[in-house]
């Protein structure tokens, strides 16, 4: 479901264009480089995915659109909400989920349990919609109906079992008050030769 049209937003908080988004990257990079990961947790943004690699993570954010996805207060535990990112074109189908207090790499929110991923299996393009599983401390998507890959949503979408050649692309999130924005992407979406087709 697309949230942008159904949610009237304050002028100041509307999605920014890629260019506008890039302008604020300097402060974000500094934040990434110098802030401890725990300090980030309940703060406004949290895109420090890999300790020691902030610069690389930052590179994945530049030029991506900043897009409003959902309100934190409206996410229900373990109920994925669908959206499209970084555009509305082929294979952009994605989901955001609040994983019931289970912390995850790249997670935002007070419990760092809110993550978002592309829905297309990176193995051969199978649809992962409807395959979210929450069991004990584990949170996965899969098995993919085509060749049965499963992905660990707590660990940046790494393949648990299966055939994918890369992790499920993770949508980088930013929390601004109660509003969650998609701001970038880690990994190439299946079927694309670059994530940003319009650039």
């Amino acid at each position: 479901m697309s949230t942008e049209t159904s949610t009237p937003r304050d002028e100041q908080k509307q999605e920014r264009s890629a260019a506008a988004h890039n302008k604020v990257m300097l402060t974000r990079r500094q934040f990434l480089l110098y802030s401890g990961s725990t300090a980030v947790a309940a703060s406004t943004i949290s895109i420090s995915l890999f300790p020691g690699s902030a610069q690389a993570a930052q590179a994945r954010v530049v030029s991506y659109p900043r897009k409003f996805i959902a309100r934190l207060s409206e996410l229900k535990d373990n109920v994925p909400v669908d959206f499209n990112y970084p555009d509305e074109l082929a294979n952009s189908s994605a989901m955001i989920v609040k994983m019931g207090g289970v912390q995850a790499g790249g997670g935002i929110g007070p419990k760092r349990d809110v993550v978002a991923f592309n829905y297309i299996c990176t193995h051969q393009g199978g649809p992962l919609q409807g395959s979210y599983v929450a069991e004990g401390p584990h949170r996965i998507l899969g098995q993919c109906p085509l060749h049965l890959s499963t992905y660990d949503l707590r660990r940046h979408g790494i393949v648990v079992s299966g055939q994918a050649y890369e992790s499920l692309p993770q949508v980088l999130l930013e929390l601004d008050g109660d509003d969650i924005y998609a701001v970038g992407m880690m990994g190439l979406i299946f079927g694309r030769h670059k994530n940003l087709l319009e650039s």
């Binding site: 499963t150 940046h156 790494i158 393949v159 079992s161 050649y165 190439l188």
Partner: protein, 903 residues
Amino acid sequence: MTTEYYIPEDNAPLPPKNCDVLTTACDYCIVACAYKVYRWPVGTPSGGPKASENAFGIDFPSAALEDWVAPTQHNVVMHKGRPHNVVITPDKQTQYVNLHGDASIRGGCIAQKVYNPDKPTRDRLKHPMVRINGILQPVTWDFALDIAAEVGKHVIKKHGANAYSVKTFSYQFLENMYAITRFSFRDVNTAAWTWHDTPSKATSTPGYRDAGFDNFAPSYEDWGAADTLLISGTDPYETKTIIFTQWIKPAIERGMKVIFINPRETGGTTFAKKMGMGLHLDLYPGTDTPLLGAIARIIIENGWQDDDWIKNWVNNKWETDSGFGQGTRNTPWQWRTTWGKFQTGGFEGYKKWLLAQNEYQLENAARITGVDAAKIRQAAEWLAKPKADGTRVKASFGIEKGAYWSAGTPNTNAVASLATLCGAGGRPGQVVGRFGGHQRGGQNGGSYPRNKSPEKVPGRRRRPLDTDRWLKSGHTRLAHVIGTTWMQAMAGTVGLQQAFEQMVTNNPHQVRSHDKQEIIDTLKKRTDSGGMVVWDHDIYLRDPIGSRFADIVFPAATWGEEDFIRANGERRLRLYSKFYDAPGDAKPDWWIIAQMARRMGYDGYDWKSSSDVAEEMSRFSRKSRKAYHMIKVAAHREGTTLHEKLRSLGSDGIQGPTFYNYETGELHGTKRLHDTTLTKADMDKKWGTDGPQGANFHSKKYTHFNSQTGKVNLQKHPWSLISDYWYWLQPRDGELWHTNGRINEIWQSGFDDTERRAYIAQRWPADTQFMEIHPDDAAARGIESGDLVMMYNERVPTFKDTILGVYKNHLQFDTLMKEGHIELGKGAVTAVAIVTPAIKKGVLFTNFLNMWQPTNSLQGAVVDIITGNYNYKLGIAKVRKLGESKYKSTFNSLSFVPRNLSA
């Protein structure tokens, strides 16, 4: 090295329309999927997203199942001295194996295996090296080869050929294997020779061989053609991926039932169960024989056996004995029957024997195996209970290492006999085989000199020499190691490593000179003083064989760096194309061997290319399951070479054995061996009218079984062959069963992807062994996922002596123990715990070949009496928590999710 801080790319280049396109097959697992290599010079434009702009001829973004380039499928290589882009993706046009261009995670990332100094493959071996003053130093080929040849000649002359021990991969391409075996057998003539995965030149599946089943008789399509498929000792989804996803999975969706025999549940089992088509018999390691015996017993008690098949295709008493006691007695089947342990005298004899064995009564088998009796009964029903309309269930049987490396002989005998009762073997939908491990690259260039082996088992024949025990006893003076770690791959790793240290590192004769002759003299002195010298061919420097022990290291050129031929698990032969320059001075193993052999004075070896080797070796393939000689015959009639003819067959290749019809000029392959449905007309079409014409070769196995009569030998499968060892091992005082095995992400690819592919290293950090443990066992020990644990075994048994077996039970474990031939040692490895219900309670599971924490050091070095191979999958360990690993509190790499978790 690769770290777990891997940041995936978000773009990948598309190959341009006019790029070079070469065919190959994946280098890794037995399945050998078809791949294409797209190559174009760096600096020239990549392809565009429109169909008219790229080599795939499709529009991007592509749809599911269409071509796509993942960032891990692109690399940069040198081709003819200039940098080129390569994209290596599964062949979407292939008609066989990986239909629709399916790929596993291993093959899918194969572009990352090629040498690129900007990537983690930068430490490929590039120059020959000689250890001088303790340091491996680059030298010229001549310098290294002269030393190797001189010392080699000396060892053979002074200490005998058996002092020259060769430990080699068995699979890394036909041309190399031909050169290695020609050198080892025909010329050096050593009995101290074996493959990477056995201590002696052992047969892993004696039960199949003696029944008459070729391990690789079926085609992949056969695995999806049964009503019920029994899979033992593997989950083909994890290992043999594409056989599962392209052949077994669709069959399950159509209603094929699958019985999995395995202490562990993984993705394929999960899927089959989810579809209501799976039955998981979660046994304790090593107990297949009672399990299968119980199933056989239920079938016979209910009269569900295939009487017609047994009448027509199973040897009766006379046929079983035919040829026995007269004429050529020296066949494996015949000498084994002298024990009286396996021979049955046909179905009635088997039935009488089976019903007399207490361990095959359902309740006893359930107790030994730990499998619910109701599930064992259900398995028997799935396999053999007639359908409602009275017709037979079509059953097929496939096994892999969990079965034949946990109790080799009894387990393979039991599967063969159960399959035969069910009418399997030799008919579409009713086949018997192995799923397979590595690809099939064996090609004999000589005969193994069995009579030079000092080992003998009760009966008549000698058993191939156990190279581990031979070395530990101090008889090996030159260890020539080709593409294997040796120590970590063998059970009882620790003792072997200590022997290397003692004979190599601790020997006073160490090279301290720049002078070639002085180096030669020093190494000779080492061999004369009870020490050992080590030559090592490899693509990376391995620890400890290369980094600590090798006196000479030879850098090998491999996949993609030379044209090579190999076959897969359905005998499909392909040319693996060279598509880039080997790093540095690296040379293919056939070249290294040839250079050494010529210097040692052996004749021949004047090959200029791998094509020359192929031309010479093909005639020696004619009896083999992958007989490819007729491809050369066809090639020569068409004015080309074996390599070029095979290249023209592309990634589809052809299934051996091959035939050439001189009348029609057609080349024919073989879908399955032992195909009892083939008619004379079918064969006439292949090899010409009225029998094999010209160079075509006749073999019984095309239409019959590999036995003395062409019918199947129905064999006993005595539990007593292994039960003394099994009961001795049975966990006590806090021990648990420990078995190890393959994991999908690293399978037949560990030789270059464990540390060197960023994504794989993120999934499984290379220096981190893992240990799966059941939640109940974990709770009892206070262990949680992510904890660092110590696994240890305080009673690792090692069979230490080379003794002659004369009487019936001479080599039984109990006898060896009583007579003092078993030594108890200790083994220890650390690992990160993964608490998961996917492993049976009471059993631990680890990755079988993590070089840094080799869990074979926990497994007993006690060989199967018949095969001479270790039962690697059968072991015990204690485990305790050391502390927490960083993976417990970070999210970058590893995953603690059970492999069987699914929506």
